[in-house]
């Protein structure tokens, strides 16, 4: 019987905001890991074996066992690697509150953002309105807090952080300004980049923009 390989592997794709959540969490906990960039047009045997149900990244493989779904991975990382910080608070009510808002980001931001990136005309207008509405809801939740986790950078911050690199792209395609519509959210976006875990896991907004401009040229404007 083969002995499972020790250590942490992350199967990921550079642009994935879900993968970035895992990278931020691993960095917060100062966990060393092996990063595997997956070609999603030609998925590796390892990915197909580690996530046979969804065949999606991110997946982390810890001592040979695979864990899938980004927020589940982040909670797992928090539980298994003590580190210097906690990603979830210890109080059950605060934990449920954090999970609720991380889940809200999961349910709303990617789908709405993707709609915006892929649409034009009336559809784009509606997608724009929807996304701004979602950002405003998040801004209300953030309020005057330093982070969504209050003083502590936590699960909701990690869930939403990767999308801050997409703000520029949303703004360019949608014709709005995050700073004008949601100044507190914009300020939070700048604040979190002061954390090393976030700074090294996020992309330059221009890189995200270049990628989606290419995709848009091919599929939307064509």
């Amino acid at each position: 019987m083969a002995v499972p390989e020790k250590g942490v592997k992350l199967l990921d794709s550079w642009i994935s905001p879900f993968g970035q959540r895992c990278r931020i969490a691993l960095a917060e906990k100062e966990v060393e890991y092996e990063y595997n960039e997956e070609d999603l047009s030609k998925k590796s045997d390892l990915l197909l074996k580690s996530n046979p149900v969804h065949k999606k990244i991110p997946v982390i493989i810890h001592d040979g066992k695979s864990i899938c779904e980004s927020l589940i991975i982040v909670e797992y990382i928090d539980e298994v690697f003590p580190g210097k910080t906690n990603i979830l608070p210890s109080d059950p009510y605060a934990r449920s509150h954090a999970r609720f808002w991380a889940d809200f980001v999961d349910k709303k931001v990617y789908d709405s953002g993707s709609k915006l990136l892929k649409s034009k005309g009336k559809e784009l207008e509606e997608a724009n309105k929807e996304l701004i509405g979602i950002f405003k809801t998040l801004e209300t939740e953030l309020g005057e807090k330093k982070y969504f986790g209050d003083d502590a950078f936590g699960l909701v911050d990690i869930a939403f952080a990767p999308f801050t690199s997409w703000f520029y792209t949303f703004e360019a395609f949608g014709g709005f300004s995050v700073e004008e519509e949601c100044p507190k959210l914009a300020a939070w976006g700048k604040r979190i980049k002061e954390r090393e875990s976030v700074a090294k896991s996020l992309h330059e907004p221009s890189k995200v923009y270049d990628l989606f401009s290419e995709i848009r040229k091919k599929f939307v404007d064509a």
């Binding site: 864990i67 797992y76 999970r99 809200f104």
Partner: protein, 234 residues
């Protein structure tokens, strides 16, 4: 020690999501007050306590609301960790696996229900049935692996995945009756069929999930209301 006044569940009794909260509280032996939400009109309490989704269930504990059924179950498990038996596994990896399958269940099953019970064309309904059956087939394999020969996904006792899937059993049986389909097929998913009997007859569950005929009647009422609202005379 929670008194009955401390813990309330806001919902309607036919909702499988509300059932999850109630089953979890029963497993922990926690008394609670059930606040019946009127389906026709969202109450001020609901709108105030779940302004984001305006949906049931909402759990109130000491006046503070917790929303989203699976988050409520996790909250119950954590707050009353010393009562009853654990709902989520102790090991972090096993917990991640349980959360994965609960998310899978929510991804695959609820979307098919309105299609199978509604007015969609035959092809669309056939596709929804296929999706649901495929998901149940997958869960049959998961059960075989997770249960390790024991009675539930959680082992000897009802756990997180049991609650996530089991809460739908009432509606699955109702759909079989209403739509004339077979979901809990002894030939295709024998282990799950037996698990379903065990789950539904357990003390924590038996008074929570309504009888099939009640759900069929409920579905008829819902459909009539929906059709009335859509009728051109309105």
């Amino acid at each position: 020690m929670a008194t009955k006044q401390d813990v309330k569940v806001l919902g309607w009794s036919a909702s499988p999501f509300v059932a999850r909260a109630r089953i979890a509280l029963n497993l922990k032996g926690i008394e609670y007050e059930f606040l019946n939400e009127d389906l026709g009109r969202k109450s001020d309490l609901l709108l105030k306590s779940n302004p984001v989704y305006k949906k049931v269930p909402v759990l109130f504990h000491g006046g503070k609301p917790v929303c989203e059924s699976l988050l409520i179950v996790q909250y119950i498990d954590e707050v009353w960790a010393d009562s009853g038996l654990p709902i989520l596994p102790a090991d972090a990896y096993d917990r991640a696996v349980a959360r994965f399958w609960a998310a899978y269940i929510d991804d695959k099953l609820p979307n098919q229900t309105p299609v199978l019970l509604g007015e969609a064309d035959e092809a669309t309904k056939a596709e929804a049935l296929q999706q649901m059956s495929a998901a149940l087939q997958q869960l049959e394999e998961v059960f075989e692996k997770c249960s390790e020969g024991k009675s539930f996904f959680g082992g000897d006792t009802i756990g997180y995945v049991d609650i996530s899937l089991g809460s739908y059993l009432g509606w699955m049986k109702a759909m079989e009756k209403i739509a004339g389909i077979k979901l809990l097929d002894e030939e295709k998913i024998p282990r799950l069929v037996k698990w379903a009997e065990r789950f539904c007859s357990s003390d924590a569950v038996k008074e929570v999930i309504p009888e099939v005929d009640q759900l069929v009647e409920f579905s008829n009422v819902l459909r009539a209301a929906f059709n009335a609202a859509a009728s051109p005379s309105n």
